[in-house]
Symmetry: C2
Subunit: 370 residues, 2 copies
């Protein structure tokens, strides 16, 4: 799917939602739709980083002087409008010039003050939250995207092989996190897809704990949740490795988590609701009398680390009917967390194809003891 | 200033603004007010990362299960409320329980959808944007903060010394950026204060260009804008170094930028408007018949890389009267950008004390050729 097809897909939302204009503020959309590739697109520390405006007849990038050269180089066919702020006056002027009256925008991305500033500066424009409609826009990946996701998972797999040789008793969590980032960058990745989780022993029971000065200890687990970002696309993988041979109970718990992932894989198919897949994994663990994970089973992955679809108890905005479809890419990441004792999670990235479910992550997911 | 004093200062805003409750959503406030220290506090890829609620009688942290252990450890004296979403239902319930009717919140930080969700879930609470009032809360730094800022600038200075020996003809911009990050992490800093800018030759004319595969070339400049983050506090420094001896015109431009910085330093004082200081630097360059920088001259720095005060053409929300006062910490960063030819910027961090302006950055800022 080339740029023209993506534009057509985005413009179809104008008809579907009865709009005559769309404002895109999320970095993932800027890259997907216009080729405008920002390094950390939604990091607020960079300040305002541009806006796309799309109507039936026009496609514009609004950006301040910092991005002028980049927009000219990366976004051929897009009209560049110089601006300094996310709402007034330039964006309001553009909407007036284009005669936009009903305009879709991302209410979950724009700050409340930007939204109200724009509403005030463009009193004749009705702003409509279209987050749900837009969540479906990038949900099915094209070949270019699958290739980029493949490069991201490949670098992540290579890093895991390296870590198996590198991690040893005495290494600190922060050192491991840093080694992962170093590996990605030296392998040519843009960087991390997200802040690495590296947790030792009972600390692995915190589903999103941050790396500390805690050291790897014999007889305990190391939980690693990490992924590379390549050409904007992200990998997301979790492994729980044992330092020394696990005891029987730990082995049983690991096999339960792996079994839950396999139960989920078996449940996946076109037209199957994400909630059903989530339930299959939860049931597998619960039926053994063990408390299953409290978080969602999985999430879509692409230009964002977390995007549609969702495999969880609840649905996801924009996921039509909440079902999985051919072309979607998502994680499956069941876990068991026993506070003060142990945490185990296994996470892989998958591509649902017409021929079945393809695991993009290539690393082994059976129990590994180092 | 200890935690009690910070709490008192925050509660004074309740009186000043006629409120009975305050919601803090920005990571910098969570750390400053409650000690809740998040690694990348405002990175949306982490999802919802907690909220503070402050009334005259209560102080609460709302956070989901990922942060429970951290909040208990870091925020003694704060009541922990378990929640999963930024607005409904827990936050609305808390506001109802505390009898809050007029509640201040950060309109520039909360998304429009979170704001409207909360307004809907708490129909008896009037939500009031207090961004301007809050911008002044952290504007004067206490001794603990100055010490942390000093550690951040010291690591950044040490990195610059290393870079002077390390940068050579043939190094790529991305390699330099990576070397800076590696240095910071190995020196014990939390990481980067912001994405490093490393630009070679005419590319330095882009005020915020991103590092590319471009290589260092003899006879050209390397512009480096970088800083470390230590204990949440950030340094921000720019140097433009010459590879080989500069020609006369480049030397003249460098001296103009340095002169502009010195003119700004001389203009700074308690009660002086940031706009005046900005103007002093602009005038110094313009009076030599050279086009001055189009960006602001400087910005406050602390737990955010960019915060109040502002030294620019316009004022800054919350900067009472827009003047500089004793205790403020800010950058001074004039530049000259000649597209296709050269870019020069010099940036240092300063602390305005009762005894005068103290430069926190220790690196030399005279012309250096390597």
């Amino acid at each position: 799917m080339g740029q023209p097809e993506r534009l057509a897909r985005a413009r179809a939302i104008l008809d579907a939602e009865g709009l005559d204009g769309l404002i895109f503020s999320r970095g993932a959309f800027k890259r997907w739709l216009a080729g405008f590739a920002l390094a950390d697109p939604d990091d607020p520390s960079h300040g305002y980083a541009g806006t796309l405006v799309l109507t039936r007849g026009a496609a514009l990038v609004l950006a301040d002087s910092r991005y002028v050269e980049q927009v000219i180089a990366e976004c051929p066919g897009w009209e560049l409008v110089h601006t300094t702020r996310p709402a007034a006056p330039e964006l309001a002027d553009v909407l007036a010039r284009l005669g936009v009256q009903r305009c879709g925008a991302e209410a979950a991305v724009l700050s409340h003050s930007t939204w109200t500033d724009l509403a005030e500066a463009a009193p004749n424009v009705e702003l409509i939250a279209v987050d749900s409609a837009l969540a479906g826009l990038r949900i099915v990946k094209d070949e270019t995207e699958i290739a980029a996701l493949g490069r991201a998972t490949a670098v992540t797999d290579a890093c895991f092989v390296h870590l198996l040789n590198w991690i040893a008793v005495g290494r600190r969590e922060v050192e491991i996190a840093w080694e992962i980032e170093r590996f990605f960058r030296e392998a040519g990745a843009e960087g991390l897809a997200f802040s690495t989780i590296a947790l030792v022993g009972p600390r692995a029971a915190m589903p999103h704990g941050e790396p500390s000065d805690e050291r790897v200890v014999a007889g305990q687990v190391v939980l690693l949740d990490f992924g590379a970002r390549v050409d904007g696309y992200r990998a997301d993988m979790t492994r729980t490795i044992f330092v020394g041979a696990p005891d029987d109970e730990s082995r049983r718990l690991y096999d339960l988590v792996l079994g839950a992932q396999q139960a989920a894989e078996a449940a996946v198919g076109p037209g199957v609701a994400g909630t059903i897949v989530h339930g299959a994994a939860v049931d597998h663990i619960a039926s053994a009398g063990v408390e299953p994970f409290g978080h969602g089973l999985g999430h879509g992955i692409g230009l964002q680390t977390h995007e549609a679809p969702s495999l969880s108890r609840v649905g996801y905005p924009g996921q039509s009917g909440g079902t999985l479809e051919v072309g979607m890419v998502f994680t499956i990441e069941p876990g068991i967390y026993q506070p003060g004792r142990i945490g185990i999670r296994i996470e892989d990235d998958y591509h649902l194809t017409a021929g079945g479910l393809v695991r993009l992550t290539q690393s082994p997911n059976h129990l590994i003891a180092i």
